[in-house]
């Protein structure tokens, strides 16, 4: 009999799954680097809706979350939940018509729909972090939500933004980090005006400045980002995101894959969003 999934380490698997659903805990001691900073190095597992893969008598089952056991509800609920968020960026009135149009008609206008990067801050916290005394490196495996695999090199040695970075326009911007006690504060500028802040057509200008704040408490990573932009009435702080460290010593990223959008020409109802 062919064994499709051998989970000899089922207990570890259950632990990992459990970590995804447990509230953040401070029970574990926060690892620190030789210079006394919290150590963010490692792989970090996204929280939220977990896709589970398991063996069922020789079949491989990919279990997608969906209300009432209906896969179709995954995207229906996603759309409702995203529109129902009370924490929204507040735009100046001259942008309201454009935002509303993008919300209702912007499926193919969404950069990540057509394989563009999600950009900072939409891509959220990284899946892997490498930390040195003078810089911290964020790596992203790439997904439907974060866009293509990418990385960010963030100096923490006290430098300021280079004039060429200030003059540039880019998807990820240019980041400089500094420490405020145990919080890593990352300030990013040099953005293009093509990325969105969210699924519902939240646009921004070249003037955007993003400030990310990141803490590690035990095995939990806390990440939040605040957006300053001339299009907004006031700075907007995104909903915070938490991740847990991957306990697997053999964790890895799958190799990056090219992206080609094929669905747009076949979509019957572009107002159905998910």
């Amino acid at each position: 009999m062919t064994k499709l999934i051998s989970c000899g380490s089922a207990a570890i698997a259950l632990l990992a799954v459990s970590l995804l659903h447990l509230p953040p805990t401070q029970a574990q001691e926060t690892p620190r680097t030789a210079d006394g900073r919290p150590d963010f190095s490692g792989y970090w597992i996204p929280g939220g809706s977990a896709v589970r893969i398991f063996d069922e008598g020789g079949d491989v089952v990919l279990n997608l979350p969906g209300r009432d056991g209906d896969i179709g509800n995954f995207e229906k609920d996603s759309a409702v939940l995203q529109r129902a968020h009370t924490n929204k960026p507040l735009y100046k009135p001259e942008y309201w018509d454009r935002i509303q149009d993008l919300d209702w008609n912007g499926l193919t206008a969404d950069p990540i729909f057509v394989c563009r990067p999600a950009g900072v801050p939409r891509m959220g916290p990284p899946g892997k972090i490498v930390q040195t005394p003078t810089e911290i490196i964020f790596m992203y495996e790439g997904s439907t939500n974060t866009g293509p695999a990418t990385y960010r090199v963030i100096p923490t040695d006290g430098r300021e933004h280079h004039p060429l970075q200030i003059a540039d326009t880019s998807w990820l911007g240019y980041s400089i980090g500094h420490w405020e006690d145990d919080t890593l504060v990352i300030e990013t500028i040099g953005f293009n005006d093509e990325s969105w802040l969210g699924w519902t057509g939240y646009i921004h200008s070249w003037d955007m400045k993003v400030t990310e704040r990141m803490r590690r408490e035990g095995d939990t990573l806390h990440w939040e980002a605040t957006v300053d932009d001339t299009m907004l009435l006031e700075p907007w702080t995104m909903n915070p995101v938490q991740r847990v460290v991957n306990p697997d010593p053999e964790a890895f990223f799958f190799s990056p894959t090219p992206c080609e959008e094929r669905d747009a020409e076949h979509i019957v109802d572009p107002n159905v969003r998910g």
Binding site: S6, I53, R67, G72, H266, V272
Partner: protein, 132 residues
């Protein structure tokens, strides 16, 4: 005993979905009839392992004897990778595909299950009673 998925992969339960509120590339209901599941058996002619969705192309013999090439869209590539199944999907081999048909009548489907030549079945389904 052939092991297609190594034990350590079991703890990589993540994830198509990266954010606390997950979204998809697009709502599949906009393109496919998710309430209709159809089945065919065909021969793989092309495998495209790309993002945001892999595509499998299969020649299928229709009831009138005509051979029609179908394009089947899959869940995200990294989900297939986490199942350790990519090398089970080969041009020239025969597969049975269960799919939601395209709403516009094209020979395109959204794969809900595929039966491999060795008889094992890869199945996408939902068992969650509530979102987390």
């Amino acid at each position: 005993m052939k092991i297609l998925i190594k034990p350590y992969v079991c703890i990589l339960v993540s994830l198509l979905l990266g954010a606390s509120i997950a979204s998809a590339h697009h709502a599949v209901q906009a393109q496919f009839d998710v309430n209709d599941v159809q089945t065919f058996t065909g021969t793989m002619t092309k495998v495209e392992l790309i993002n945001p969705h892999p595509y499998f192309h299969l020649d299928v013999e229709m009831p009138n004897g005509e051979i029609v090439n179908w394009s089947i869209e899959s869940v995200a590539l990294n989900a297939l990778r986490r199942m350790g199944l990519l090398k089970q999907l080969q041009v020239g081999l025969e597969y049975t595909v269960e799919y939601n048909p395209a709403r516009n009548g094209e020979t395109i489907g959204l794969m809900t299950a595929i039966t491999l030549p060795n008889g094992n079945r890869l199945l996408m389904r939902s068992q969650e009673t509530a979102r987390q």
